[in-house]
């Protein structure tokens, strides 16, 4: 029956092509992430950038006004800012380098088999688990010159005749807070590097041993190259984190004495919460962001290089 024959009717064309639909769906899945990141990361950054262009001192609401780059000009002439930037470099370099060395040594030790290894690993993590403020208070007491633990031990051991003001002397305060930060950060590197060590196939060591490689050669030619990606990632993360870390110094010295331990993050806090100068504090934050961005670009280049090597 010719009349009754069904004729294939073309499907109605959709408004958007399949490819476009898939693309839009994909982007829609990203919307929650974009919204969350925008609200929690991008918006505060933009807000800080805007704030840095204003004279925004909370105790002087009548003087609130747009000042353009005046806060940035002020920063260029601010001696304490430059001192705090230099102190930040010392703080980051001193902390991260010793944390790395201590952590590496700890990881190598923990990688060996011995009785009670699990217990020792757990104990090693303790400084990392304790909250930063608690660590600061404990070490403040240890360093207390008049009745602190350190001076007491040193004088009882006959190693000290005159009490040392660890946190009150401008020359000693920075090394003292760095030592505390090293104590706290060693477990971070130890655990990261231990994970890396455990991922290195033992066959490589066996092959190196068969080839007559010494302990040092096995370390420099097998261990170190294979740990390099982890070292770079851990070190870079730690540098960024230490640069922004204010709790320890804020509690132990408040940036003193005489700004000897004032780092950029504590100086920003001081401007925001003591002077209530939000405009200038925002300016400091933006500049620190730029410094960290520059570092991150450098860091990304380094890691990309490593990826290609690996």
């Amino acid at each position: 029956m010719a009349n009754g024959a069904t004729v294939a009717a073309p499907l109605a064309r959709t408004l958007i092509s399949r490819r476009t639909r898939e693309l839009v769906t994909g982007y829609l899945y990203l919307v929650p992430v974009v919204v969350v990141l925008g609200a929690t990361v991008l918006f505060p950054i933009l807000k800080a950038m805007r704030m840095s262009l204003y004279n925004h001192v909370l105790i002087k609401p009548q003087e609130y006004r747009y000042v353009g780059l005046a806060n940035y000009v002020r920063l260029l002439h601010d001696e304490v800012f430059w001192q705090s930037l230099w102190n930040s470099c010392l703080w980051v370099f001193g902390s991260v380098s010793f944390q790395f060395l201590g952590g590496f040594a700890g990881a190598l030790l923990l990688h060996r088999s011995f009785r009670g290894r699990i217990l020792v690993r757990t104990i090693t993590l303790l400084p990392w688990i304790i909250p930063g403020v608690v660590v600061a208070l404990v070490w403040e007491f240890i360093y207390q010159p008049n009745y602190g633990l350190l001076n007491d031990i040193l004088s009882r051991a006959g190693l000290m005749t005159e009490r040392v003001a660890w946190l009150s002397s401008p020359a000693l305060a920075m090394p003292a807070v760095i030592a505390t930060n090293v104590w706290r950060g060693v477990p971070f590197f130890a655990i990261m590097l231990l994970a890396g060590l455990q991922a290195i196939p033992t066959e490589l060591y066996e092959a190196a041993r068969v080839d007559g490689a010494s302990v040092v050669q096995r370390f420099t030619h097998v261990t170190l190259p294979l740990l390099r990606p982890i070292i770079v990632v851990a070190t870079a993360t730690r540098i960024v984190w230490t640069f922004n870390y204010a709790d320890l110094i804020f509690v132990m010295t408040g940036g003193g004495p005489a700004n000897a331990t004032q780092i950029t993050s504590t100086y920003t806090l001081l401007q925001a919460y003591s002077n209530l100068d939000f405009g200038y504090a925002a300016t400091l934050s933006v500049v620190l962001l730029l410094i960290m961005l520059a570092f991150t670009v450098f860091y990304l280049r380094v890691t990309r290089g490593l990826e290609s090597v690996s």
């Binding site: 909370l58 008049n146 003001a165 009150s168 003193g256 004495p257 700004n259 003591s274 002077n275």
Partner: protein, 433 residues
């Protein structure tokens, strides 16, 4: 008390126990808890209290409960805020348009709040208040900004020197007289310094606003001033000489503990309490604490020494009750604040903490006049003055954030006294607003 006998934990326990005992020992404080609570009508009054120590907390909680039981129009709710964050929390709440109805604040903050247009002007009400003429005129001065009375001077105090009487006898030293001099002060602190025993003659303060204020008191004793004819003159020759002498106590004569550059209020009070220092300058606020730490009979107070100019100064300050004009129940706040100034609540609060009442009739009571430990403060009243740093609201935060780091630089020898004073004068001149 030997410092080895008192650990940090013991010290904290003692402090907590003192508060607990004070709160439980006095039936007066307990009484409100035994009565039934009443229903509340109007919006509650939010009262911010910024020195949350165990003893003060107990006193303030009891006062608030007692007030709430005394009337049924509204309820007072107390909010305890750590002292370190109190000023910033108040300022941010003012900026956000949601301040408490009233708060306990230091007199040097009132000017800042006034500058923000946030403070309730109490001038009219205060002048009709029943105890207006009973309050010491100098106390009103501490809370008067641009001719307006902005707060109640809840309690007042000035500075004097605490010293150990037991060790004075032990070391055969001469007790300081009321009109003693800089030289005698130096002799005493040298005699008190026994480094082999970890004891020092003077607990100098190196951190916080009062580190600069105590040094300024010594500069005044040499004839210096902060302001003269509307100009900052703290960098005068007299000021530099006196500051040199004062800083040399730490730098040259070594009669101070090495911790000075980072010793704040707790540092100097604990240093004396633990027996590390044998003298320190403070207001009467640590009297009661020291009675617990070193024993009532083992210390005394004396006015600050006379300087080469045969002058001296003790800076007077008050702990205020301040109302905010954006408060939800301003009338309630007034009623609560004026009630706190009444005889019984005021006496209990001041005596309980070792502070002095701002009302003459309470101030003259034997509890204060006959207590030997108060003598240094009472004898300092004739030459006490309102802190010159209250002159400009803009100086409030700057002394702490810029003045103190500069002072610390002078303390550790990075800046000379004159150099420090020149820089400090610059900071003050820039912020005369």
């Amino acid at each position: 008390m030997d410092q080895r006998m008192l650990s940090r934990r013991q010290l904290l326990k003692t402090m907590a126990a003192t508060g607990a005992i004070a709160a439980t020992d006095l039936a007066w404080w307990e009484e409100p808890l035994l009565r039934p609570r009443r229903a509340w009508g109007a919006a509650p009054v939010r009262f911010q209290f910024s020195v949350p120590e165990p003893k003060r907390n107990a006193l303030v909680e009891s006062l608030v409960q007692r007030f709430n039981q005394s009337q049924n129009d509204f309820e007072v709710k107390v909010e305890f805020v750590p002292q370190a964050q109190a000023r910033q929390k108040l300022i941010t709440s003012i900026a956000a348009g949601n301040p408490p109805d009233c708060a306990q604040v230091w007199d040097n903050w009132v000017g800042e709040f006034d500058g923000m247009g946030a403070v309730e002007d109490l001038t009219g009400k205060v002048k009709d208040w029943k105890h207006y003429s009973d309050v010491l005129p100098i106390a009103w001065q501490t809370v008067t900004v641009k001719g307006h009375i902005e707060s109640f001077p809840w309690v007042v105090t000035n500075d004097a020197l605490y010293y150990r009487t037991d060790r004075l006898k032990e070391y055969g030293l001469k007790a300081p007289k009321d009109d003693w001099t800089f030289d005698e002060f130096l002799t005493l602190t040298k005699g008190f310094t026994k480094t082999d025993k970890n004891q020092y003659g003077f607990g100098m303060r190196g951190q916080g606003t009062w580190a600069v204020l105590y040094a300024t008191e010594f500069m005044y004793a040499n004839g210096a001033q902060v302001l003269k004819d509307g100009k900052v003159v703290i960098n005068s020759k007299e000021a530099a000489e006196a500051l040199d002498w004062y800083l040399d106590l730490f730098r040259k004569y070594k009669v101070c503990p090495p911790s000075v550059p980072t010793d704040g209020w707790r540092g100097i009070v604990e240093g004396f309490g633990r027996g590390v220092t044998n003298t320190y300058i403070h207001n009467s606020g640590s009297l009661e604490e020291q009675k617990g730490f070193v024993g009532e009979k083992n210390f005394a107070t004396v006015p600050l020494p006379l300087g080469p100019a045969k002058k001296r100064a003790s800076f007077y300050f008050s702990e205020t009750l301040t109302g905010f004009n954006k408060g939800k129940n301003r009338e309630g706040a007034w009623r609560f604040m004026s009630w706190l100034m009444d005889d019984e609540p005021n006496l209990m609060y001041t005596k309980g903490l070792g502070l002095l009442p701002s009302r003459k009739s309470l101030f003259q009571r034997p509890e204060f006049q006959n207590d030997p430990s108060y003598q240094g403060f009472l004898k300092s009243f004739p030459f006490s003055m309102v802190s010159p740093y209250l002159a400009y609201a803009g100086w409030g935060g700057k002394i702490d954030s810029e003045g103190v780091p500069l002072f610390q630089q002078a303390l550790v020898g990075k800046l000379g006294s004159k150099e420090f004073l020149d820089k400090f004068a610059e900071v003050l001149t820039k912020n005369m607003s």
